[in-house]
Amino acid sequence: MSKHHVTTTINGEETEFLCETQETLLDVLRNTLNLTGSKEGCASGDCGACSVIADGTLVCSCLMLGVEAEGKTITTVEGIADGETLHPVQRQFLEHAALQCGFCTPGFIVATKALLDANPDPTEEEARYWLAGNLCRCTGYDKIIRAVMDAAAEMRGEARAA
């Protein structure tokens, strides 16, 4: 079979690409479109490093075929900042030093964005459950959760928890 021709919107831009059936959206993002922010940690849905938002839903791009992106609106970590201005979630991750090697970070940023879009005022428990599909081998999660909670507060226009 010839390659599939896919037209989709990625980070606000209409994008066209060709892919084989077995190529995942993650393969296409990284290898064809050179959007290498999304990482491949496991390729089996366990680590969340490949997280993207597809038509408003948080998914693992390693568990979605590239051809399934046809007609969809996809947000990757490259689309989270507003030009040169970091998103509050990104800034809070930096401020809290919520990363060490950084491999998991793009997935956490995207998953946190999806969480705060759906629930601007999550409890810590809700945030921890939401992020249970994002694994980090370095930080021990605590700084990540602090960053998430402060980003949420900032986006609600509240002062940071001390």
């Binding site: 079979m1 059936t21 077995q22 849905g45 366990d46 693992c60 568990l63 075929l65 939401w130 599909g133």
Partner: protein, 294 residues
Amino acid sequence: MPSLNYAAPTSVQEAVALLAGAAGLAKPMAGGTDLLVQLRSGRLKPELIVDTKQIPGMIGIREEAGGFVIGGATSGAMLEAHAALKAAWPGVVEAMDLIGSEQIQGRASLAGNLCNASPAADSVPAMIAAAAVAVIVGPKGERTVPVESIVVSPGRTSLARDEFILAIRLPPRPAHSGDAYLRFIPRTEMDIAVVGCGVNVTLDAAGVCTAARVSVGAVAPTPLLVAEAGAALVGHTLDEATLAKLDAAARAACKPISDKRGTIEYRIKVAGVLARRAAAIAFERAAGRVAKGH
């Protein structure tokens, strides 16, 4: 190596023709959270993937004749967001919600969980307890099959190669009914059930059980409907003698294996304990009291 084809048909007829016409293995796909992992690992070598998500009726939840019709590819996230479904069938919704992470919930479906045919599939005992039926479509039209008749052995279903599940139907809910699903895992999230148990009951005004279905998962090659366990509840309130009978019936149905997650003895013991706890929650819910699941 022959290349892998993909099609996203927009009607049942087209999908059935594609499944029937493929020379090699053709697989329907819903969320792909099992299928794509198996494709990647090489365990599965299909010639054609038939993406079912563009077919009318595959995604969405509607109330019909007092029950619910859930499209075969409807995601766990959509079940969780449906207030009326959650109120009527909290056990089914919480069983689906146990599957994987938020990312997996965005894609995973009841029909995919069922047709992957794992002995430990979480939503299946809850659906069996709920007396859910699968609406199957194929070249001869539509047929409905109780969920407990779908899985025949690990990884195998009773569907023909040119059939797929269009929807899962949950029956109307009499007054004073409640369901619950519990699974035992060593962690709190992201793990495979060592044992799972679904219980669904209807009570009379005095709180005596008039109908009950109990199903266990991960303790036999397929999820099981345990008729004796349901029968142990009917005619009774949840007193200790009834719970002991339920526990014994659930244990008697188990034919588990020993593996790294649990020994045979352990799984059998846990099945009895989970049946007791799930029954307690289902009775609370049926009596109109708020009971939190897992």
